[in-house]
C-alpha cells in the first residue's frame, strides 16, 4: 500500500515557487507516495504569529488544522512553515494541534526519515552547489545533514560555505521592519559565497531575500528551490533551471 501524503504548498510556494511545488509532487510520486492536495489550504499564519498577532495566527492555524484533518502525512516544501506546524502550533492551539504536528514534515526530512530514501539517483553529477540552511529547518526541526546528503549522493559537490548556517536576514516582516539590517545580513551571505553553479534552500522566503538582494547588486548568482533540485537529482527532471528564484 502506498503512503498517502497531503501536500501543503505554502503561500510563498503557491504564488512564487509553483513549479518547484509541482516538482515536489513529481518527486513524491516518483518515490511511490500517493499525493493529495487539500484545496482549502491557504497560509500557515506565520506572518501574524511572528509579529505578535496571536489571535489572527490562531485563526489561520485552526483553518490549517481543519484542512489537513485526517491526513496520514503532511509534507511542505518549506522548513519554516513545517516548523510552524510542528513546533509553534502546539503552543498556539494546544491539544488540537498535536496530531497534525506529529505528522508534518519538510520535504527532504520526509524523504529521508519517513520514506527512508537516501539515494535519489545521480542527476546532479558535476554540479557545484551551495546549500543555505534555513534557520527554522535547521534549529526548529533539526534538519542538518539530510538535504546535503541527498544532494551529495546524487553526485553534487556541496561546497563549504562559512555562512551556510547563518540567517539570510529574511525573517518575514523583519525584512521590512528593519530593512537596512536585513539587507546587510543578505550581503554577508553573498559576500562569503564561494563560486558555485547555484544556491539552493528548502525555503522560498530565504531564496527571495537573497536573490532579491543579489539582483539589485547585479551579482550573477543563481538560486533554485530545493524541491526542484531534488527532482533533478532523480535524473528525471529535465529542466536544469527549474525552480529558479526570480
Amino acid at each position: 500500500m502506498s503512503m498517502r501524503v497531503a501536500l501543503f504548498a505554502t503561500c510563498l510556494g503557491d504564488s512564487f515557487f509553483a513549479d518547484s511545488v509541482a516538482d515536489a509532487v513529481r518527486l513524491l510520486r516518483h518515490l511511490g507516495a500517493e499525493v493529495h492536495y487539500p484545496e482549502g489550504q491557504t497560509c500557515c499564519g506565520q506572518p501574524a504569529f511572528n509579529s505578535g498577532h496571536m489571535d489572527e495566527a490562531r485563526r489561520a492555524a485552526m483553518h490549517t488544522v481543519r484542512t489537513f484533518d485526517g491526513a496520514d502525512y503532511v509534507v511542505l516544501p518549506s522548513g519554516s512553515c513545517a516548523g510552524m506546524l510542528r513546533q509553534m502550533y502546539p503552543s498556539l492551539l494546544g491539544e488540537p494541534a498535536a496530531p497534525l504536528a506529529e505528522r508534518t514534515f519538510e520535504l527532504a526530512q520526509f524523504i529521508t526519515q519517513v520514506l527512508g530514501v537516501q539515494d535519489l539517483g545521480d542527476g546532479l553529477q558535476g554540479r557545484h552547489i551551495a546549500y543555505h540552511h534555513g534557520c527554522h529547518a535547521l534549529r526548529e526541526l533539526g534538519i542538518e545533514d539530510e538535504p546535503v546528503s541527498l544532494l551529495s549522493r546524487a553526485g553534487a559537490s556541496v561546497t563549504d560555505w562559512e555562512a551556510d548556517q547563518e540567517c539570510c536576514g529574511f525573517g518575514g516582516l523583519f525584512s521590512v521592519k528593519i530593512p537596512e539590517v536585513s539587507v546587510a545580513m543578505a550581503d554577508r551571505k553573498l559576500d562569503s559565497l564561494p563560486e558555485v553553479d547555484f544556491i539552493t534552500s528548502a525555503d522560498g522566503g530565504c531564496l527571495m531575500q537573497m536573490s532579491g538582494r543579489a539582483r539589485r547588486r547585479k551579482a550573477a548568482v543563481r538560486f533554485r528551490h530545493l524541491a526542484s533540485v531534488l527532482w533533478e537529482a532523480t535524473g528525471r527532471g529535465s529542466n536544469p533551471t527549474a525552480g529558479a528564484a526570480l
Binding site: S15, T42, F170, E180
Partner: protein, 464 residues
Amino acid sequence: MSDPRPADYATAAAATLRDTPEVRTAITAATRTFDAHRRAAYAQVAAEEWRTWMEGVKNHLLTHLADYLEQAEEQLTRNGVHVHWAGTGDEALAALGDVVDAHGVGGVVKAKSMLTEELGVNAFLEQRGVRVRETDLGEYIIQLLGEPPSHIVGPAIHRSLEDCQALFHRELGTSPDATPDELAGAARDALRSDFLSADLGISGGNFLVAESGTVALIENEGNIRLSTSVPPVHVAFVGIEKLLPRFEDLSGFLQLTSRAATGQAIGTYVSLIQGPRRADESDGPTEVHVILVDNGRSSLLADDTAWEALRCVRCGACLNVCPVYRQTGGHAYGWAYSGPIGAILAPGLLGLENAMPLPHASSLCGACEDVCPVRIPFTDILLHWRHQAVERGLASTTEGLAMRAFAGLTERPRLYGAAARALRHLPIEVGGSALPVLRNWTAERELPKPSVRRFAQLWKDGIA
C-alpha cells in the same frame, strides 16, 4: 539614571551601517572569533549537561529568590559587609552617594560592570565632581572616546587596532604604530597611579553566593583584583538575579560562564570577596558595601514567560552568534544591554512602552538559543513581547488592520485564491513607492516575480 533610547533602534542601526560601515566589519570579525573559541571550549566538556544543570540551579534560585536574598544579606552582614537594598536605579545611586559623601571620595577606580552601565554610575559620580577611571582595557578605551560599551564582554570590539593606536597616540603619547602589547603597557602605566590614589573601588558581581555571602568576579586583566583590593573602600553593585544558592554552585558557573564568554576554561583571575580586611590581614579594603539592585527585576520575575531572561549570566555568547547584532554592534540598541539578551531584557527592565521596537530586532533565527549557557528561550520571549505590544496597543494600527484582513483571507480559501491571482496583475512597481512595506523591501532589493500560474492552478490543470 542613564537615558535609554531603544526607540531609535531602526534609525540608529541604519545610520551605523551607512555612516560607519567599518563597525560592521570589526564586530563581525570579533564576534566570529569569540564564537569559534566558545564552540571549541564547549566541545571540551559535557556542555549540554552543564547547561541543563545551570538552568536548573537558576530556576531554583529565581523561584525561591526572597529566601536566598535574606540568606545573602544575613551572611554578608556576618562577614562585615554593609548591605544596601535598592528598589530602583535612583536608590542604588543614592546608596553609592552616601558612601561617597561619608568618605569624602575624590577619585574612583572602576572594574567593568554592566549593571553600573545600566544605572549610569559614571555620569552620577562625575556630576558630583568625582573623578572616575575605568580600568578594564576595553572600558578605558571607550571612556577616553566618550562612548558607551558596544558589547557586554568586549566593550570596545567595534573599534579597530588603528582606532586605538590613534587614540593612545593622542592621549598617552604612544607611537602611532604601537603594537597591542605596547598599547596595553601604556594603559597599565597610566592606570597604576589611578589605582594607588583612588579613594573608592567600584565593581559589579558575576555571582553572589547566598550561603556564604561571597561576591565572585571573573576577569582577565587583574584590574578587578586591584580595584577591589587597593582602595580603602569597595562598593559592589549586584543585581538580585545574580545570586547562587550554594558555594559549590560557583565551580560550574565560573567555568561554563568563562567558556561561553571567551572560550576560556576559566577566567585568568577569579576574585572571591568575603568581606573587608581582617585584623590579621595586611591588605584589602577596610570597608565593603554590596548594593543589591532590583531596578525592574522583580516585576520581570512576575512575568510568566519573560522571567526566564533573569537566568542570564551576561556572558555575551548570544551577541556573538547573533546575525542582527553583528551588523551594527551594540550602540544601535540604545542602552546598556544589546543583542538578543538586550532585546528581551529591555521590555522587562525599562517597560515595554519604552523598549519598542527592540523585540522586533531579531529575525527569530534561534542561533542564540543554541549557545546560551542557561538555556534562555529567546524566541518564546521575543514572541511574547511582540504579542504584549499588540495587546497593549503599542503595535501599528495599520499592521493590526492588515493582520485582521490576512486572518480573514486564510479562513476563506476562495477569497484567498482570488487575492493570490490578483497578485499577478497588481502594478507592484507602482505599489512599491506607495506602500511602506513594499518600499522598505524595494529600497535595496528587487521584488520577486510571481509564478506564471499559481500551484493551485497547476494542480487543477493536471500539470503536477
